[in-house]
């Protein structure tokens, strides 16, 4: 097998065993790799009755066919599990250095089940997977643990680590590579924690890959790298990081403010935007493996209450979640809060959004000091957030830590008044920091994305903002952000393209300058799938439908494809004020185009069969005699 290694490690932490699994090449072609292949494995092997944090639960890490080819944006991998936050499928994508290292060690992925009897780590060294003791690491923050692992296993090693939040099974705990690159969403860190798995370490000496057409890959990498590097988006990302256009997004109504009560604050936009971060705190840039874009920030805050040593800086999502969303324009506080979340191992989106919701609930009297343990939750009070709230959440300590560590949806259900209405989430997962009132396609994308409110599981975010042009599939029209027009039609394409990106494990920033035929050529030259654009898009749709089927098996239905009232109410200020989102119209049209059953929210048998999902169709739609 080329591109892929054809080898997946099957690890049972309860039995302390490691086996090797080989899947048919046809399975790779149908499900591509990464997110798609992980979803197929999940469908085939998961115990759908098992709790997300039980030993029986699956935790899958999966590379894509392009991992390790030394192209910018092609060093990502996927994590898939049942989400402890939503109860549905969770998937998360991470760049950094672990994915190519695992590929070089001969593995496409890891399937982890069971629960270790004591804190453990997985070591992948010279192609052999072993389960090692991690007792001395348990309880440590991610920064210290990562440094310890580097010291123990050498400079060429790279690790995935959870923090105290993962150990305590906070349902939005994350996993970090090199304390900077995150499997952020869906609670993957909690799944690892539930298995007593503190870390995974790869010690990679070799850089060998087996490719279908290595010369063509070499040529493509040479041709595409300058284009990726010089693309406008890449330049913005390099110069100012992922928050580079935050100020511009603020004017278009994309940036939520004070728990989504507003989406316009000019001063906050100016104070929090990427160029301000660069001017004030940037020490240098950093990157994922083989990427010329280098969008990562290394920051240092020299003085003040949020002084911070040189280290990983915040992404856009963190800047907004711990900035405008909490009513703060203090960028130093954002840097500190982001670093703390990294160390504690919490998804900054869910953590920040839950705190912002709590601030509004406190203001409205739906959370009282009795529930907060006497801690006031005031807009913009970042000292309290950083010094008190975050540590309590990660350790689930005290009444406040216990409440907020549940995530906003469960915390709201446990609180008073109508506080669930002003959470901003879908299927229990907090929305990322892009306000659907500033781009109505986001509303549809958040609602129908299998993992919950998400802007990267599909390509809608980039398609709606004008950053995509795919004439080969008919997407060459301009989308008007503030209407529902053509959004359902776009969403069908966005679902397929997003699945392709997450299964080929391409970075959604770096691949913006690639055409679909170029992605096809890359995949074929690496893995020999024999795709054309049509079959690649069909594979993307197949993967999206499969994830919907997984959610159905977990009990989700069409009624779960919804947003909370806060996300659907018209904006109150800025250019988008007063404009209604025609959500039902978009959703109904999308359902019609996808062939979804209007109640079950999954495709009908015929549609599933047409996508080569016959076995899946049989289990959901029993054949009648």
């Amino acid at each position: 097998m080329n591109g892929n290694t054809g080898k997946i490690a099957l690890i049972d932490l309860t039995e302390n065993t490691v086996e090797s699994l080989t899947l048919p090449e046809e399975t790779y072609r149908r499900f591509m790799g990464g997110s798609g292949l992980a979803a197929k494995i999940f469908w085939d092997r998961a115990d759908f009755a098992a709790d997300a944090l039980s030993p029986e639960a699956l935790f899958i890490l999966m590379n894509g066919p392009l991992t390790g080819i030394r192209l910018s944006g092609a060093s990502r991998m996927n994590a898939t599990a049942r989400s402890p936050l939503t109860g549905g499928i969770a998937e998360s994508s991470c760049g950094g250095y672990f994915p190519p290292a695992l590929r070089f060690e001969g593995y496409d992925g890891l399937i982890i089940t069971g629960k270790a009897a004591k804190p453990s780590l997985l070591l992948i060294d010279k192609g052999i997977v072993t389960i090692e003791d991690a007792g001395s690491l348990w309880g440590k923050g991610i920064l210290e643990c990562t440094a310890d692992l580097r010291n123990k296993y050498g400079k060429k090693s790279t690790s995935l680590v959870i923090g105290p939040a993962g150990e305590n099974m906070v349902p939005f705990a994350c996993i970090l590579n090199e304390a900077h690159h995150a499997f952020g969403r869906g609670g993957m860190g909690a799944v690892m924690g539930s298995k007593n798995l503190k870390a995974l370490v790869v010690n990679s000496e070799t850089k060998e890959l087996s490719l279908t057409d290595p010369d063509r890959i070499k040529t493509l990498v040479k041709e595409l790298t300058p284009r990726i590097k010089n693309h406008l988006i890449s330049q913005v990302l390099h110069d100012f990081g992922t928050s580079g256009n935050l100020e511009g997004h603020m004017y278009s109504g994309d940036v939520p403010v004070r728990n989504w009560t507003s989406n316009f604050d000019e001063e906050m936009g100016d104070a929090l935007t990427g160029s301000t971060l660069s001017d004030r705190f940037l020490k240098k840039t950093a990157t994922c493996a083989y990427c010329a874009v280098a969008c990562k920030r290394i920051v240092q805050v020299d003085e003040g209450p949020f002084a911070l040593d040189e280290g990983p800086g915040p992404e856009y999502e963190t800047v907004v979640a711990f900035g405008s969303l909490q009513g703060s324009s203090d960028l130093a506080a954002v840097c500190k809060a982001g670093r703390m979340c990294n160390d504690l191992g919490m998804d900054t989106i869910s953590a920040g959004a839950t705190i912002a919701w709590a601030m509004e609930a406190y203001e409205k009297g739906h959370i009282t000091e009795k529930q907060t343990g006497g801690i006031p939750l005031l807009w913009g009070d970042m000292e309290t957030v950083i010094n008190k709230v975050l540590p309590l959440m990660a350790t689930r300590s005290g009444k406040l830590g216990d409440l907020l560590s549940m995530g906003s949806a469960r915390a709201a259900r446990a609180s008073g008044g109508n506080s669930l209405e002003y959470t901003a989430q879908s299927k229990g997962m907090e929305a990322p920091m892009h306000d659907p009132r500033g781009g109505h396609g986001h509303a549809l994308a958040y609602a129908v994305s299998p993992r919950g409110a998400c802007h990267v599981q599909t390509a809608m975010h980039f398609m709606e903002t004008g950053a995509c042009n795919y004439p080969v599939i008919g997407f060459e029209f301009d989308l008007e952000a503030l209407t529902h027009e053509k959004k359902a039609e776009t969403m069908v394409l966005a679902a397929a393209i997003g699945s392709v990106e997450n299964s080929a494990c391409l970075c959604q920033f770096a691949d913006r300058s690639l055409t679909l035929p170029e992605i096809v050529e890359l995949i074929n030259a690496a893995a020999g799938y024999g795709y054309d654009v049509g079959s690649m898009m069909e594979a993307g749709l197949r993967i999206f439908h499969l994830k919907r089927c997984i959610n159905y098996r977990f009990g989700f239905s069409a009624s779960d494809d919804d947003l909370t009232p806060r996300l659907k109410e018209p904006a109150r200020d800025g250019d988008t004020a007063g404009i209604e989102i025609q959500f039902d119209e978009m959703k109904n049209r999308f359902y019609e185009m996808m062939g979804f059953d209007p109640l079950k929210g999954i495709a009908l048998r015929k549609k599933l069969e047409s996508l080569e999902l016959t076995e899946e169709a049989d289990s959901i739609w029993p054949r009648t005699i």
């Binding site: 406008l232 330049q235 913005v236 110069d239 100012f240 580079g244 256009n245 100020e247 511009g248 603020m250 004017y251 936009g269 160029s275 903002t465 004008g466 950053a467 995509c468 042009n469 060459e476 301009d478 913006r512």
Partner: protein, 148 residues
Amino acid sequence: MNMSQYYKDAEDLYKIYGYFLDRVLRDDKIGLKMSKAGIIIKFMYTDPDAEITIDLKNPPSKEGYYGTVYMGPCDIKEDVWSKQPADHSHRFWHGLENPIAGITKGIIKQGGKVTAMLKLLPVIKPAFQLFPIALHEMGLDNLIVTKK
């Protein structure tokens, strides 16, 4: 051959943009914010071929202005340049064209410090309201574009 819907020739374009940019660069909110960019931008147009340079780096040549505009080719070296059809620019200044989409589709070409120019986008957004007003004041209501 000039294929423009809105401009007869380069002189016509210079007349309209001259009037409009004069207002923009005197505007205490928009002009002041633009001047903070501290860059020199060259706009190149096709259909009709024309060139406008806005200097936001050097001290303005006239009192009460936040920058200096040069109509037609000039010797000042730009930090960033942008090239697009004049009609696309005309619609852009009405707020009817998405510049990111224009760049993605290759309608707009750019070079130099493009990130500095991108930073100007939110700053100039209020000028979208001024452009049709400028056209109206010039008696050119027939050139005002409305959303379909």
